[in-house]
């Protein structure tokens, strides 16, 4: 059998046109970011490619993040675009070590014809999500485009916060033997949205997990402090993409115990029927954390003590091999490499 050495490739963007896959959080997204944005906008903060940009300012470590929300439908079981926009922005700051954001800003792109009541409902949803997260939305912008040129409304956000002094995070801190923790069942958000579009004739009693993950981060900082090495909220591209990015950045391997990953039966069933891998499905209220082995028990207990974190579990560990890859192992001895998402998750037919 031929074997080919897996080397960290230099990414180039030569794609002739933008396709949906460029926004799906997988390989094409990575090519767009690392092959186009990073080289053209080159600077050391951007090049870290983390969820938030970190910079030192007058003795403080400041985290800033920007995000765009184009979800369709606007409302879905468990949440809506406004709530998602606030929680998603708070979460990007939280996993960068800033669980108490100082402020958010929101920019609205509205389609002519959008019912006023719909906009009101979304702004109300943003207000209550911001109140729950203890943050103010301190500014923003509004633009309107012609009818037919947007799906009702899009929201772009910006958030900023001060990094907790105890947070010392980054792929460079991840070591062989570290444990990978997950806060709860995966795939709820992605499958809920897929079903809420109503194109599948599939129904399930399922709701998006959209929420602030800041309480998880606070718990981890209290319990593990220096033992907390890395965090990520596995949104687009799912757990598989987040762990692949970690493997690539650390040059280490991540071994995942496939059967340990918590999964609701509804999500598992939908994935089996549609031929999707739950590891590629988006989450909006879960957190992945890498902690030192001796801090793992305390960190896990901290996650489980947060409401909604009862099913938190250790799903894997960091090993030296296979380098730069994520390996899933099963209790019956099968193993497979888990790659990043390629393209949009497309269902197979038989």
């Amino acid at each position: 059998m031929e074997t080919v050495e897996r080397v960290a490739p230099r990414v180039r963007f030569n794609d002739p046109q933008i396709e949906m896959a460029h926004g799906a959080g997988g390989k094409a997204s990575r090519r767009l970011v690392e092959g186009l944005f990073v080289p053209l906008l080159a600077n050391p903060i951007l090049e870290t490619l983390s969820d938030s940009a970190l910079c030192d300012f007058k003795g403080s470590r400041i985290a800033t993040t920007a995000d765009g929300y184009v979800v369709k439908p606007l409302r879905f079981p468990g949440g809506s675009i406004g709530e998602l926009a606030v929680n998603g922005t708070v979460n990007d700051l939280a996993v960068a070590g800033a669980p108490r954001p100082l402020g958010l800003m929101a920019s609205f792109i509205l389609e002519a014809g959008l019912p006023g009541a719909t906009l009101r409902a979304e702004v109300e949803a943003m207000a209550s999500a911001a109140a729950r997260a203890g943050v103010n939305i301190v500014g923003g912008d509004t633009k309107v485009v012609e009818h037919g040129f947007a799906d009702g409304m899009y929201v772009a956000t910006f958030g900023f916060g001060e990094v907790d002094a105890r947070a010392n995070l980054g792929p460079d801190r991840v070591r062989e033997g570290d444990r990978v923790l997950l806060s709860g069942p995966i795939g709820d958000h992605g499958i809920t949205i897929l079903l809420a579009r109503g194109e599948l004739d599939l129904e399930a009693d399922l709701a998006s997990d959209t929420r602030s993950v800041a309480p998880f981060v606070e718990g981890l900082l209290d319990a593990a402090a220096e033992g907390l090495h890395w965090m990520r909220d596995p949104t687009r591209g799912g757990v598989a993409t987040a762990l692949n990015e970690l493997a690539a950045a650390t040059e280490l391997g991540i071994t995942v115990f496939e059967e340990a990953i918590p999964l609701r039966d509804e999500v598992r069933g939908a994935c089996e029927i549609l031929g999707l891998d739950p590891l590629h499905i988006a989450n909006e209220g879960q957190i992945l954390a890498v902690v030192a082995a001796d801090a793992a028990d305390a960190a896990l207990a901290a996650l489980r003590s947060v409401p909604g974190g009862e099913r938190a579990v250790c799903i894997g560990e960091v090993r030296s091999k296979p380098a730069r890859a994520v390996l899933a192992v099963t209790t019956y001895g099968g193993s497979r490499i888990i790659d990043m998402l390629v393209g949009d998750p497309l269902p197979r037919i038989c």
Partner: protein
């Protein structure tokens, strides 16, 4: 989850794997083809190769509908999609299959109205909701998906929906297996028979493989334990010098097949005299066309179809891989010019294609020491 967990039981899997290793012994090499792409996918997805002794080799067969679709047919379908006031509806698998001028997904990004559906009935619903457009369903698949297309045609006729038609690319599995058996490169000992196809066709159509070619066939389910048990049943036959058709997937597959589904296929379709298969060439009586009774819903009657034959890219060795002569990584383009993001051959597109499954699950494992 019922019907899944009991077929992934670690203890049972270990027992069956041990029995396979015992029966396979040493010395003789066994080459077993799994015909169905669903099996190929499951074998890699569950890492079953790790559980088999080295002298039991699995060869991936032609049972992936998009993989065997020649490029010319993709071009024909896209030519219809580009006509005015046409909406093309296709299964997700089709969206990344390259034609000579790009994939359906790339056409969609350029503004051609191509929509992904999970069922042909969804395409019919789009037609009912948009009477000012004509909706063409790009039908692909073996006997597994043909009945749903047939029933959709029947419903379109019953409802009098006239702005709907089917671009039919349904193929039948048995002539392809026969072509592989007759191929001079063929060196196979037995077949893991297709599971989903057999829910429709039943087990009888495979009897010629055992009778005329002396090869065992075991129809198999898709869970790890199903596939391992099927391999065990094959080894038992081979060791006893027998060749029979056996049904491991009895919980789903009736021996006689699904008669209402077969009847629906018989009413809506007729056999084409011949059809081109990617990599395998023209195979006689191997595909279905919309029957003359449904000509008003046959896209090949309703539209000008260029019908140009496109030769496969020279360097790609899809045919050899499809016939099991080459392993995916032995193709010159594998993992280089041809990868899941930029497939050249269709085997790299579908999750059931041997190359995509190999790339996604095995190639990366083999290229890094575990």
């Amino acid at each position: 989850m019922k019907y899944v967990d009991e077929f992934r039981d670690p203890q049972l899997i270990a027992n069956v794997a041990r029995e396979i290793a015992r029966l396979a012994g040493a010395g003789r090499h066994y080459r077993i083809m799994e015909v169905c792409g669903g099996h190929t996918h499951a074998i890699y997805r569950h890492g079953l190769k790790n559980l088999l002794p080295p002298n039991v080799e699995l060869i991936h067969g032609p049972g992936c509908p998009v993989c065997v679709l020649p490029m010319g047919r993709v071009d024909d379908g896209l030519a219809i999609a580009e006509q005015r006031d046409v909406i093309m509806a296709a299964f997700g698998d089709m969206m990344r299959v390259p034609g000579t001028r790009g994939t359906p997904l790339e056409h969609k990004a350029r503004g051609v109205d191509i929509r992904m559906v999970y069922s042909p009935l969804d395409a019919l619903r789009i037609a009912q909701a948009t009477p000012e457009k004509h909706v063409v369903f790009f039908a692909i698949g073996f006997e597994t998906t043909a009945p749903s297309t047939a029933l959709t045609l029947a419903r379109a006729r019953a409802l009098g929906v006239t702005n709907f038609s089917v671009f039919c690319n349904h193929v039948t599995i048995v002539p392809a297996i026969r072509a592989i058996l007759d191929s001079p490169d063929m060196r196979l000992d037995a077949f893991v028979g297709p599971g989903h196809v057999s829910t429709v066709t039943g087990c009888r159509p495979y009897e010629f493989i055992a009778r005329d070619y002396g090869k065992p066939v075991v129809i198999s389910g898709f869970e790890p334990l199903d596939i391992l048990e099927s391999i065990l049943m094959i080894l038992r036959q081979l060791r006893a010098g027998e060749a029979r058709v056996e049904n491991q997937y009895r919980r789903i597959v009736p021996w006689e097949g699904n008669l209402p589904a077969l009847r629906a296929i018989g009413e809506a379709f007729e056999l084409r005299p011949y059809f081109e298969w990617r990599g395998l060439g023209f195979i006689s009586q191997s595909a279905l066309k919309v029957s003359s009774a449904f000509a008003a819903w046959d896209a090949e009657v309703q539209f000008e179809v260029p019908g140009v034959r496109v030769t496969d890219p020279k360097a790609a060795q899809c045919g050899e891989v499809l016939k099991g002569v080459l392993k995916p990584p032995q193709c010159k383009l594998f993992g280089k010019e041809c990868n899941p993001e930029h497939p050249i051959g269709a085997l790299m597109v579908s999750s059931e294609g041997a190359c995509a499954a190999y790339y996604r699950y095995a190639y990366l494992s083999e290229s890094v020491p575990a």
